[in-house]
């Protein structure tokens, strides 16, 4: 069995998973209007971490998350040559060094935590986090490593904001995934970390089970979602098939739900094709914004918290159905026994990835 636990989130909602959970259970959002943040000095909604500024913000976040994770595990495994760290990120320390966005952080993390291996960076746009968790699970499954720590991290930058503005993809209000009036994304920053291991005893608190999934390309467009949801359908189908999981076993779906018209429509089509449209579903982008390479890690960790608390969290920003196919979007927080959940992600480059978590 592959275990996942010791989860950590550093986000605008708090410095650890518990503070983030408290905020989510109160439906507090980390999104705020930032004056003159846009390319033409427009006010822009962003989910930024207060107090995170200056140089090496990416590195600061990664180190903070790993230090927090260290307290939740048998810390002696960090230095083991059977342990590796995977960092999922799109733009890393772009603001510190455009030409080399990851080396300094990887080297510093290795030295500071006395790791045996240099961390590996996985950079697959918005599916990076889910993909890294799947790679981690597979590395443990095939005994390449005993313990794999996944750290998903991206920080807000003018670079990325201006880019999404140039695509007319930034929402003029806090993003509203799946809502009829959605009109784009809200960018966020944050870091999510978790330990994946075959050894239950290295976790201080009981872990959950990671049912590693698969990825699939849309083979459609580098920056536009497929109209048929083909890649997402294939990824989820293969993930469920791999574990012999039937649709009736899925208790909840944590969707990607960016809040753009075309992404959310694509997901609605895919979940209908998969006969999963009746499952309670949310997007967490209304709380954290879109944290890009960190999103899959942060959102999977929230799923774990939902499972630990047996509670569904409402899809913030959603009011009226806004996709051509119906979805069962969570309107209010509420108790629900969560045994098996599905997490999905889709992104630029046509990537789609999915995984499942099971409560033990």
């Amino acid at each position: 069995m592959i275990y996942i636990g010791a989860e950590v989130i550093v986000s605008p909602l708090g410095d650890n998973a518990e503070d983030n959970w408290q905020a989510l259970s109160e439906n507090r959002s980390g999104i705020a209007l930032v004056p003159a943040a846009g390319f033409n000095k427009e006010d822009i909604h962003l989910a930024k971490i207060t107090g995170l500024s200056g140089h090496l913000r990416f590195q600061q976040l990664v180190i903070k998350a790993l230090a927090s994770l260290e307290e939740r595990i048998d810390a002696s495994i960090l230095a083991s040559d059977r342990t590796i760290v995977l960092i999922s990120s799109t733009k890393g320390a772009l603001d510190d060094n455009l030409h080399d966005q990851f080396s300094e952080t990887c080297t510093s993390v290795m030295q500071q935590f006395n790791l045996s291996h240099l961390p590996i960076v996985i950079s697959n746009a918005c599916i990076s986090g889910v993909l890294a968790l799947n790679v981690a699970g597979s590395m443990v499954e095939t005994r390449q490593y005993e313990h794999v720590i996944v750290i998903g991290c991206d920080v807000a930058s003018d670079f990325v904001l201006y880019g999404f503005q140039s695509l007319f993809a930034v929402s003029d209000k806090p993003c509203a995934p799946f809502d009829a009036a959605r009109n784009g994304i809200t960018l966020g920053e944050g870091c999510g970390a978790a330990l994946i291991s075959a050894t239950k005893s290295v976790f201080k608190n009981p872990p959950l089970e990671l049912l590693t999934g698969t990825s699939a390309n849309d083979a459609n467009h580098i920056s536009g979602p497929s109209r048929t949801g083909e890649g997402l359908v294939r990824s989820v189908h293969r993930t469920m098939e791999k574990h012999g999981t039937g649709a009736e076993e899925i208790d909840f779906i944590c969707a990607h739900g960016t809040g753009t018209v075309f992404n959310d429509e694509m997901e609605a089509i895919a979940f209908n094709r998969l006969s999963l449209a009746d499952k309670p579903l949310n997007s967490l982008k209304g709380y954290f914004g879109h944290t890009l390479g960190a999103a899959g890690a942060i959102e999977t960790i929230v799923c774990m918290q939902m499972m630990r608390n047996n509670m569904l969290i409402k899809s913030l920003g959603y009011c009226d159905a806004g996709t051509s196919q119906p979805l069962n979007i969570i309107l209010e927080n509420g108790p629900k026994k969560l045994r098996t959940i599905l997490k999905t992600a889709s992104g630029f480059g046509g990537g789609n990835a999915s995984l499942m978590i099971r409560n033990l």
């Binding site: 455009l98 080399d100 996985i122 880019g163 580098i222």
Partner: protein
């Protein structure tokens, strides 16, 4: 046995397929090196001109592998070929050009922005070939055979039947591209660290 059935190296001045030089750079040409290869090899895919250098490199090397090894891809279903690429500089070359588009008084260029992610090249290859398989892009300090060996082992044990691997370093001052196809076959160059290092340096040896 896992073997390397076909490979392509693009260096600063030469282009090799399966270890043989198929073309050398014309220093006097006004065209970029990648455009020279595209034209001289008579490839036809107008989207090539929209791509950034990373995607052009991946496109050229994967097409040259296909051309030199007819039928190599047809043995597989549309989701059985995984793509596993890596490099050291991520999309830094295009990132720099995107910053230039807005830092000097201009406006951020959407056509550059969409290439400011290293995995876009995987999307381009998937779109061209209609491949729905697994994709991964990693950023590593240098070419590391162990990375490809480890992750290919995982993919080939979980549904993929072939892996198109790539090391894609293509910046203004540096061209170091090595694509290779890993398959399960009875004969061929064994897929191991020693052979990978050797083949990755093929160009330098000639």
């Amino acid at each position: 046995m896992k073997v390397i059935m076909a490979y392509c190296n693009l260096r600063a001045d030469e282009c090799l397929v399966n270890g043989k030089v198929v073309m050398r750079r014309d220093a006097g040409s006004e065209d970029s090196w990648f455009k020279q290869i595209y034209k001289q090899q008579e490839l036809v895919y107008p989207k090539f001109y929209k791509m950034d250098v990373l995607s052009q490199a991946g496109y050229l090397a994967s097409e040259l592998i296909k051309r030199a090894n007819p039928g190599i891809m047809e043995a597989y279903a549309d989701d059985e070929i995984a793509l596993v690429f890596a490099n050291a500089s991520s999309s830094a070359e295009t990132d720099r050009r995107f910053v230039q588009s807005y830092a000097g008084g201009g406006s951020p260029s959407p056509s550059l922005f969409v290439y400011t992610l290293p995995n876009i090249v995987l999307g381009e290859i998937a779109i061209l070939n209609k491949w729905y398989g697994e994709n991964m892009f990693a950023v590593l300090p240098k070419f590391a055979p162990g990375f490809y060996l480890d992750y290919s082992e995982i993919l080939l044990a979980s549904g993929s039947r072939a892996v198109l691997c790539g090391w894609l370093e293509a910046t203004a001052g540096r061209t170091d591209v090595f694509l290779f196809m890993v398959e399960e076959q009875e004969n061929g160059t064994e897929f191991n660290a020693e052979n990978l290092l050797h083949l990755s340096r093929t160009a330098a040896a000639f």
